[in-house]
Amino acid sequence: MAVKQKTKRRPAIFWRSQFMFFAIAVGSATLILRLGYLQVSQAKQFQSQISTQNFFSLSIPPSRGWIYDREGTVMAADVPEFVIQYVRYANDTVSATAVAAELAPVLGMSANKLYNIMINQTPWEAAVTLVNQATPLEMSYIAEHRNSLPGVIMVTVPVRAYPLGMVGAHEIGFIGAIPPNQVNQFQKLGYPNNALVGLSGLEQSYQNELMGQYGQEKIPITPGGIPLDQPIVDVPPQNGDNLILNLDVKLQQVAEQALQQRIAFLRGVGETNVHSGTIVVMNAHTGAVLAMASYPTYNPNWWLGGISNANYQKYLTNNAGLNRAISGTYMPGSTEKMLTAMAALTHGEMTPNLLVDDLGGLQIGNYYMHNWNQGGFGWVGLKEALEVSDDTYFYQVGLNMGHFNTSNPPANINAWLNGGRVSALNQINQLGKAFGLTSLTGIDLPGESAGYVTYANPPTLYDLPAAAIGQEEAYSTIGLATYIAAIANGGYRVQPEVVHAITSPSGQIVKVIKPHIVDKVPVSQAYLTIIQQGLELATHGQLGTATYYFGNDPANVAGKTGTAESGNPNKNNSVFAGYAPYNNPQIAVAAVIPNVTGEGFRAAAPMAQQVIDYYFSHPAKAVVLPNGSNK
């Protein structure tokens, strides 16, 4: 039985064993073939995958783009600073001790202190800065002792500088550490957390163009943080693009000085409420911003390397950091009257031949609304009304727009307040949008505020006529500039632009920002001509409100003064909006000084005159574009 079993079993076991031999042979052959495939024919491909290995990455900051005025004057630059850094490899305290011992005497501090800085300072960063502005002596020592100072490196760090200081501060802006609430947004763009970004002005609005791209030095390390003896991967930074502005530094300086001097003068004669003001000079056809001043102002250099507490207090005082020319909205006063007239004319609510008998004011229901000249001007037409800034005339125009007959008031006053009055305010508001007064002008600076028309609540009988003379609106200075420019240039509302062109680090033109016409205002040329003539009378007529300043001015200015109750008792916003020359407009100017005592023309108009006079004695040259390297 046992023997029989054996003989029966033998062949089965034999074949099954043979199969096992075969299986093992096939298995081994597969593995060897696989090894050959991976190690020999695919080796190159896997070696290229070494990029998935760990690297110790140091960010190399790009040089930020420079900012030039229209003639090539540098307004913002990047200057190189030599920085000594220590690269921290994890688990490498032994060599740190040695480095600290050797380097401490050179840097003039104790080894313990240096070691402490090397290990403990800014622990979240890959490399720690040991010296910010390295001396030639320190640099040469490190260069010569490179081998005994592993991890110590010299880096050229570009540092921002604003060589003109306060000139154009609000337009240029400044850079600083990424604000905590924007960290995510900049991380997505690939910025390291310690990157400096534009926080204001053009530095902010053109951040992407100016920034450039961070470079990287990638040192191969183990996941444990130990550097490997493998080549360092060097990705050089890409420097940022430059900005060439429409701004004219000389005109800008004149505008800033005129503004500052005017405020100082007013304060000198006891007007201590006056502490701020704006003035904008713009090409009337292209929207190129030639000068833009806002007072009080600040020095962007304060922000470099972190702002000191004293400077920060100065920056906050009277909100000096605010660019009032675009962010401040002021009641326009009589500069509103052109808009009121154009709205009424285009809607057929008045004819260009409307005559009003100004007896010193107008009775509206229970209210008597005074003209500024309480004696009255008698019968006046539209041009004369603009010349003498006749309030009564425009009260009447406003009431015409609302279909309110003073001698036969509507029976249902409430219905009128919500009907005729509102539709008249809407007409003013809508035309204001077309001129950039109640809409954003779209200037290439951050923080612009749109103007607005107030719809008084509760409504009153007198707020429509008040709106007609500019007491119910608030506009930005830049909005006033686009408004007066559109009147001057035949109805084209242009977008104000501070930047003229963007150039590459090597000086090639990347982009020229062309003048942008936002819209053609819905006012016929005939009406615009009447308005222009009215503005010319205001500066040259016998009774013109600004004739005192511009009557004999060689620049042949046309414009309108404005006085608006600023909210403080007996204090008025002093406004001027004008253009020159009258017969061939080149520039549009808008200026505001709030909180002036008495009639406003004393403040804004003479300041505007100073700037206009300078412009025509030193007219802006064409923007200088580079034809090669411009650094």
Partner: protein, 365 residues
């Protein structure tokens, strides 16, 4: 005694593999030892200790009559089951690398699953030898065997150590095959096994992700594909001739635990394809000798025992190298004789000792 010299080749090959192993463990672990224990020789010292212990036990077992194992097989298996249950008890079993698979004995740890793997082979060999015909019967042979194996595998899966249970499952299949089980029984078993495998993957998503990672590791370079990519980079760096002994860079914490499951990657990197193929040829020779011993053994217990022990080595080599060369999903299987690990190395050398003992009785030579 005189028969021992006959299988000197087996001894030489096994010891050669151990020498290569100790050398490579030293090379692969020197960085990790330094970082973890501030002693670059920490792992290699332990490995040398177990290599000595294992070699000693190998010679002891070679001199013993393996048939004595047949008598203690039941006891040995029962002891392993006790250990397997104990290791699952928190505070007794130690968790390393996500599995509760170690019983701590002082500074050393025993892996009960390693012990169970070998004792199950011994036990099944004894069982098959005692009831030679039952294996062909479904009720009397096949199913009870499945029950015994199933209980063991279930305990190991609970740790969880899926790789170890796969090795055991495949080994048992081969033993059944050698013992003469019916092919249709085995065929259905394979189907059930596959279904269970799929079920296990569905139960724990990390197993599925491991499978996915091996198919396309570049898609998950930072997570589950990391091991495989680092392994492939090691292979690519090694090329035909290798970067030279002790010159691996992948061991610089790129490959996690380079001294255990991925030691073959370090071999390919430092010694190149030539070195890797040499190691595989050594294994091939070992397996050839093992199978020869099985075929020529004079009794059924010896035949099945030799086949089982050889199969364990074969399966582990194929899985380990298959993982390193990205032919299989990542499973924590050591490379016999070479990977760092006390339990594994000692028991593998014991297995060689038993093979030598079987060879003494057989007609080899």
């Amino acid at each position: 005694m005189h028969k021992l010299h006959v299988d000197l080749s087996l001894v030489v090959v096994a010891l050669l593999l151990v020498v290569i192993g100790v050398t490579m463990v030293h090379s692969a672990s020197t960085v990790l030892s330094g970082i973890r224990f501030h002693d670059n020789f920490f792992y290699v010292k332990k490995q040398l200790l177990f290599a000595s212990l294992g070699t000693f036990l190998m010679f002891v077992l070679a001199r013993l009559d393996y048939r004595k194992l047949q008598r203690v097989a039941g006891l040995l298996f029962l002891l392993s089951l006790v250990f397997l249950v104990l290791v699952l008890v928190p505070h007794i079993g130690q968790v390393r690398g996500g599995s509760r698979a170690w019983l701590g004995i002082g500074a050393f740890g025993l892996q009960p699953s390693e012990l169970a793997k070998f004792s199950l082979i011994v036990y099944l060999s004894a069982w098959f030898a005692r009831y030679p015909m039952r294996v062909q019967s479904l009720i009397k042979g096949f199913l009870p065997l499945l029950l015994i194996t199933g209980v063991t595998l279930m305990l190991i899966i609970l740790e969880p150590d899926l790789g170890q249970s796969a090795v055991i499952g495949m080994t048992i299949m081969v033993m059944l095959y050698f013992a003469g089980a019916r092919l249709r029984h085995m065929g259905s078993l394979v189907m059930i096994g596959l279904a269970a495998f799929v079920g296990l993957i569905l139960m724990a998503p990390y197993r599925l992700s491991r499978v996915v990672a091996f198919l396309n590791p570049w898609q998950y370079p930072d997570t589950i594909g990391y091991h495989i990519i680092m392994s492939l980079i090691a292979l690519g760096r090694g090329g035909l001739l290798g970067v030279g002994l002790f010159h691996s860079t992948q061991k610089f914490s790129y490959l996690p635990e380079p001294q255990t499951d991925f030691i073959f990657a370090i071999i390919t990197e430092e010694l190149g394809m030539v070195g890797a193929v040499f190691v595989l040829v050594l294994f091939l020779f070992l397996l050839y000798r093992g199978m020869l011993i099985a075929m020529r053994s004079t009794d059924r217990f010896g035949m099945l025992l030799a086949a089982g022990l050889t199969t364990v080595i074969a399966v582990q080599v194929i899985i380990n190298v298959g993982v390193v060369t990205s032919l299989m999903p990542v499973t924590g299987i050591t490379l016999p004789f070479i990977s760092y690990g006390g339990s594994s190395l000692t028991l593998m050398l014991c297995a060689v000792g038993v093979l030598l003992s079987i060879a003494r009785q057989s007609r080899i030579g």
